[in-house]
């Protein structure tokens, strides 16, 4: 039944996806080559991402005030189209949990999708283990699955904010209409806030209320930025090279179109 009697070895590329495939392969090869070449010697310089630099400030403030820190990767899961953002959010959570373990600050992680629950709990335990404080880890209290329903999730997070009054709020992941609610509620209780999302609908809301905002593709550099491993940093450098290439293509396309040539458009459809 599965194969309808069709042989697996006779394959052809889907029409209109030739260029996509070539670009993907080029990026793939460049990433592998770049990462392997760069990891040996030269490490590129990178600009500071204010939102990620401020994580320590958030935890430090919470330690001074004797209050917890709140984190949420939103209610996106690990199986949908927004999963890259959840992965980026979890990388931030891993670092935040480590800082919280170091300074003995309780952390609350509000999870809206059960697929994230186990990963977050594991990252939390590893953070405490890395700081040599596994005996103080309380994953069953720190990692909280609230609900998968959007506005029930929003209400639950708002409730945690009002009841437990965290000194800091870090939200990195995919966010929908609940973003403004979170930002305002935590602003009201005086939390210092770091927000990041690649969902551009929500960036304006974060930008007007939060103290630090991680915008667009900065999100996808968080893992490498926080681990500071040369291997990962090199991969970000390669990412920037690809962006420069995309920019160059855009300019070439712009010039071609203004010269009255459709060659570039046809090439993109290949």
């Amino acid at each position: 039944m599965p194969f309808n009697g069709l042989p697996l070895d006779v394959l052809q590329i889907v029409a209109g996806r030739y260029l996509d495939l070539v670009v993907l392969l080029v990026i793939w090869v460049v990433t592998i080559l770049g990462v392997n070449m760069l990891k040996r010697g030269w490490t590129p310089k990178w600009r500071k991402i204010a939102g990620l630099e401020a994580l320590e400030e958030v935890v430090g403030r919470a330690a001074e005030m004797g209050k917890p820190v709140h984190f949420t990767p939103g209610y996106g899961g690990l199986t949908g189209t927004t999963s890259p953002q959840v992965v980026a959010g979890l990388a931030v959570f891993a670092e935040l949990a480590k800082l919280c373990a170091r300074y003995d600050v309780p952390i609350i992680c509000s999870v809206g999708d059960p697929t994230v629950l186990g990963v977050a709990a594991e990252l939390y335990k590893q953070a405490y283990m890395a700081e040599g404080k596994i005996d103080r880890a309380r994953p069953e209290e720190a990692i909280r699955y609230l609900t998968g329903s959007q506005f029930a999730f929003a209400s639950a997070v708002a409730g945690i904010a009002e009841r437990e009054k965290p000194a800091g709020n870090v939200m990195v992941g995919p966010f929908w209409a609940e973003s403004m609610m979170f930002a305002e509620v935590f602003y009201r209780i005086g939390s210092i806030q770091i927000a990041g999302t690649a969902r551009i609908y929500q960036i304006p809301f974060f930008a007007i209320v939060c103290d630090y905002v991680i915008i667009g593709d900065e999100m996808f550099a968080t893992g490498a930025y926080l681990t500071k491993e040369p291997y990962s940093i090199s991969s970000i450098f390669v990412q920037d090279l690809v962006k420069i290439f995309a920019l160059a293509l855009t300019i070439v396309g712009l010039i071609a179109i203004h010269l009255g040539s459709n060659v570039f458009i046809e090439f993109l459809k290949w």
Partner: protein
């Protein structure tokens, strides 16, 4: 407030005061409609024209919203269905979310297709909820009957008269999508419009999502793009007044108050700085 000047108070009006005044500004027009003019904006005209220009017998796919977003899309969806049922076209309803089936029942109870002489299975039918988001859209485009073995009531697809001629994406003339999720509104472009640009795509999203859909509209991939708020304009245009027109007054009330607050805040802020030695 002791020790605070009037400028300090106006610069930092307590949120409770703002909330209360905004609430009053919204409720009053709902209780006693202001009867303000309802101008028909360009996007609504385009929406109307696109449906009006559908050739008789066209097949239209309607991807309606989920239950959570229903109150926002209520008036636009009801007005669009009134318009569609008044035209000689065939409709296929689709739910991208499990809760959407309740929305479908509610919409049909408000529009009543029988009043337009439309019969279930002949002029319209619902294919139900298909999980998978974009995967479901792709499946519908590639092989309609493989993706839809039965309608939402469980009737086999072969027993639905209007489904007999539907094979794949090529049989559809238009998609109308109502959604509060960017993944859905852009998903239809990725899975349907990119594959078959001839299909007209009418997209109704939350107003705050409009800027992100605008690039697709400018590129010609969306034939008509509107937010969910101007449902009243559409009701006015097709002569079926409903909840949307009432909401328009409430909308005006709340936004006018918001503008007043912004002006007050800025005047207070500038006055304070002038008092401290000039505006910088």
């Amino acid at each position: 407030m002791a020790g605070k000047s009037i400028i300090d108070v106006l610069e930092n009006i307590p949120r409770e005061v703002i909330y209360t005044i905004v609430l009053i500004a919204m409720i009053l027009p709902l209780l006693r409609p202001l009867g303000l003019p309802v101008p028909v904006s360009e996007p609504i005209k385009k929406w109307y024209d696109a449906i009006e220009s559908l050739p008789p017998g066209s097949l239209v796919l309607i991807s309606h919203c989920n239950l959570g977003a229903y109150p926002a899309f209520d008036s636009m969806q009801v007005a669009t269905l009134h318009h569609l049922f008044s035209r000689p076209v065939k409709l296929v309803f689709f739910s991208i979310d499990a809760t959407g089936l309740v929305v479908y029942d509610t919409l049909l109870s408000k529009v009543d297709p029988k009043a337009y002489g439309k019969v279930y299975g002949v002029d319209y039918f619902h294919i139900g909820y298909i999980p998978g988001g974009e995967t479901a859209m792709k499946a519908l485009a590639e092989d309609f009957k493989a993706a839809v073995p039965s309608d939402y009531k469980g009737t086999p697809i072969d027993q639905i008269p209007m489904a007999k001629d539907i094979k794949d994406i090529r049989d559809f003339t238009m998609i109308i999508c109502f959604t509060s999720a960017g993944e859905t509104s852009i998903g239809w472009i990725r899975q349907w419009i990119v594959v078959r640009p001839e299909i007209k795509y009418l997209c109704c999203v939350l107003d705050m999502m409009l800027p992100t859909m605008r690039p697709y509209y400018e590129a010609g991939q969306v034939a008509a793009l509107t937010g969910s708020a101007p449902g009243g304009e559409y009701e006015f245009l097709i002569g079926k007044p409903g909840s949307g027109i009432k909401k328009a007054d409430a909308f005006t009330g709340a936004q006018l108050i918001l503008l007043v607050f912004i002006i007050i805040g800025n005047i207070a802020s500038i006055a304070k700085r002038m008092g401290k030695g000039g505006v910088r």
